[in-house]
């Protein structure tokens, strides 16, 4: 169980000012190297996509199928994470390049980018880990915090988590439907008519592309192209799910209540971002393939700084946290994800069984 970490108002403001200074410095330094980097990543992504799809046309040969599927999976991972997620955050607005404009970028996955921008850039990043406001805490279908009251439905927590992992692109696509509120009767499906239409429009084109058009074009190799595209999507789903679930759910990451954050200052916001996030350790390639979400703490402090900068500021952020007594949660993927899986299984059961307490010290439900 995490202990609540707080700073005095003065300390919180000083903490915020030091972080603001990092941000100003990086913003002033942004230039050609940053835009050249993202363009190289884009070039690699599209080259791998073309090569992957091309190889799958010869997919009857096992090496071609394996190579094609792998390349296509990598291209989807790059497109969704290092490119899509980061560009849509506005990390490259400063370039003025329309191809890197966050507000018009669309990505190779079922989720409509407009809906993502709303639920992620705004809701998740502003209300990070506030139970009852950040719907990423559980995504409406999982119990990821002891502060979510237990219900018998949650006995299936591990099953829902597994299904979400395998079908992650569709889970993300349906996020703005708020299905949990529809099922609870708070809103009706009719209220979500426009959202549903947008989701269907995007999903339909993605399905047609990967499961109809490309297979049919391959003629006799159609089943191999179909299987390759399915596998590539699955690989991307599983990989992105693992990285994303390690962002705010590993042991040590803190959740917050609406009461706690009602009068939050800017320094307090920075503090909540650190306490609610967790990093992953790894090499340069790992960071790129994780879309630099391995630097979840730095990303949550500075969502609109180009993600390639997170690695260089991380030591400084860590040092500031140490001086203010703020825990800095970081670990290898295996350990962090291991604690996430354990949490999913544990929270399937009521706390009475586990004898645990909620954040405000009460006996949990």
């Amino acid at each position: 169980m995490t202990t609540q970490v707080t700073l005095t108002p003065d300390r919180a403001e000083a903490f915020g000012r030091e972080l603001d200074a990092i941000r100003q410095r990086v913003v002033a330094d942004l230039g050609q190297a940053d835009v050249d980097y993202i363009r190289r990543v884009v070039k690699a992504q599209r080259a791998m996509e073309v090569a992957g799809r091309g190889l799958l046309f010869a997919g009857v040969l096992p090496p071609a199928w394996l190579a094609g599927t792998s390349l296509l999976a990598l291209s989807k991972i790059l497109d969704n994470m290092e490119i899509g997620h980061n560009v849509m955050h506005g990390q490259y607005e400063w370039t003025g390049d329309p191809a890197l404009a966050g507000r018009s970028f669309e990505w190779d996955t079922a989720c409509p980018a407009d809906q993502w921008r709303h639920s992620h850039n705004y809701t998740h990043h502003t209300y990070t880990n506030i139970v009852g406001m950040d719907r990423d805490v559980g995504y409406g279908i999982l119990r990821m915090s002891p502060d979510q009251p237990w219900q018998p439905y949650y006995l299936g927590n591990p099953v829902y988590a597994f299904l979400l992992m395998v079908l992650f692109q569709y889970g993300v696509a349906m996020h703005e439907l708020e299905t949990e509120r529809i099922l609870a009767g708070e809103i009706s499906l009719a209220d979500k008519r426009e959202i549903l239409q947008e989701i269907w429009h995007k999903t339909r084109r993605q399905l047609a592309k990967d499961y109809l058009a490309f297979p049919l074009l391959a003629g006799p190799c159609a089943p191999f192209v179909f299987a390759g595209n399915l596998s590539a999507n699955l690989i991307r789903n599983v990989w992105s799910y693992m990285i994303i679930f390690c962002g705010h759910f590993p042991d040590g990451a803190q959740e917050f209540s609406i009461e706690q954050t009602r009068t939050e200052t800017r320094g307090g916001w920075y503090l909540r971002q650190v306490l609610g996030s967790a990093n992953l350790r790894g090499g340069k390639l790992f960071h790129i393939l994780s879309g630099n979400l391995s630097h979840q703490i730095e990303h949550h402090l500075f969502p609109d700084l180009p993600a390639r900068r997170y690695a260089e500021i991380a030591p400084e952020v860590r040092e500031i946290c140490r001086r203010y007594g703020v825990p800095y949660n970081s670990g290898p993927l295996s350990r962090q994800f291991g604690t996430v899986v354990r949490k999913i299984v544990r929270l399937a059961l009521p706390a009475r069984v586990r004898g645990e307490r909620t954040a405000d010290g009460q006996q949990a439900a």
Binding site: G31, F214, L217, W269
Partner: protein
């Protein structure tokens, strides 16, 4: 899409088909073709093929446009977008080449303290790719051509009238042409030698900062008379002072002013006018953020975190300056996107809201 090609080739038909659009979705086919060749897009782009610095304070670029570029009439201007240290900057230039020439010729004069002109003078090199807009402007020759034409230009204003002059010569114009040009000195007079080699054009130069020249000092009416006593039509292009002076003597002169962009930030912060252009509402600035003042005026712009991180509220600032309340930085250039939830006006501002 196909503004210029009259009959799309089979390749282009395939590339623009709904099937290829689906297969290359959601990014679209241009984002793949441009990785092979940056010129292979539906956007108008041009590649620099030659760079010459013929005078100390100018650089002449020869550009090869892609098929998507719509050709200019002589005297029109295009917006050119170039990337400087990762940021795209757009400026307006009038090509100096004759209409129908295969290459676009831009002669860019240095503006002291100017960002793009100094960058291009320093760093332009063959192989650079720039983006172009469609041509615009009414500063063009009429059909049929007048019999007596007088061109008056100052500084970099020479480019559109050079385009017109070269176009007339290419079509073997047999009327009378007068050409008056003001430059700081002989060395800084663009196209001096080319003009000198035109025996059938009456060319007069005035040097405003050095002696010599056919005309002394700045423009006056004697200069006009010396060049062509009774012109059929007068074209003038250059700094506003020159244009006004010429129009003072020839009321029906056709003119174009070259005004450098203003970058100064107003000193006085409060009390300016905020114009919400799309809603046609004006309010007086009270110091709050643009978002708050827009909401106070009854508008409901899209917003999100209201703390400058999610970029949901970003809108286009057409004119004026705003200060970012978090960082203190000021955006003063025209046509810049700003996050209205953390931006406060500095002086008068026009916003797309």
């Amino acid at each position: 899409m196909f503004t210029k090609t009259l009959t799309p080739t089979l390749t282009e038909k395939v590339l623009r088909s709904p099937l290829v659009d689906l297969l290359t979705g959601p990014h679209g086919v241009d984002h793949y073709t441009e990785l092979v060749d940056p010129m292979w897009t539906a956007d108008a782009r041009a590649k620099v093929v030659d760079v010459q610095r013929r005078t100390p304070r100018s650089v002449t670029l020869m550009l090869a446009p892609n098929p998507a570029f719509e050709a200019c009439r002589a005297g029109q201007h295009v917006s050119v977008t170039v990337e400087i240290d990762g940021r795209r900057r757009t400026r307006c230039y009038s090509p100096a080449n004759a209409a129908g020439a295969p290459l676009i010729e831009l002669t860019i004069g240095i503006h002291d303290g100017g960002l793009v002109s100094t960058y291009l003078h320093r760093a332009a090199r063959p192989g650079m790719v720039v983006e172009l807009s469609a041509p615009a402007g009414d500063f063009v020759l009429p059909e049929p051509r007048p019999r007596r034409i007088l061109f008056v230009s100052g500084g970099s204003g020479i480019t559109p009238v050079m385009a017109m002059l070269r176009t007339l010569r290419a079509e073997h114009y047999d009327g009378q042409i007068g050409f008056v040009h003001y430059a700081r000195s002989r060395d800084e007079a663009c196209y001096y030698d080319e003009l000198a080699a035109m025996p059938d054009v009456r060319v007069l130069h005035g040097f405003t900062r050095s002696p010599g020249g056919d005309l002394s000092g700045h423009f006056d009416r004697h200069h006009l008379a010396a060049a062509m006593p009774h012109p059929g039509v007068v074209y003038v292009c250059g700094p506003p002072a020159l244009v006004e002076a010429v129009r003072g003597h020839c009321g029906n002169a056709i003119s174009e002013s070259f005004v450098p962009a203003a970058f100064a930030t107003p000193r006085e912060a409060l009390g300016g006018r905020i114009r919400f252009r799309d809603s046609e509402i004006d309010v007086t600035d009270d110091g709050r953020t643009v978002l708050e003042q827009a909401e106070g005026a009854g508008l409901s712009p899209q917003s999100g975190c209201r703390m400058g991180i999610c970029h949901t509220c970003t809108r286009r600032k057409h004119r004026g300056a705003v200060r970012n309340m978090i960082t203190g930085s000021v955006s003063s250039a025209d046509e810049e996107d700003v996050q209205i939830c953390v931006s406060a006006p500095v002086g008068d501002v026009d916003i797309a809201l």
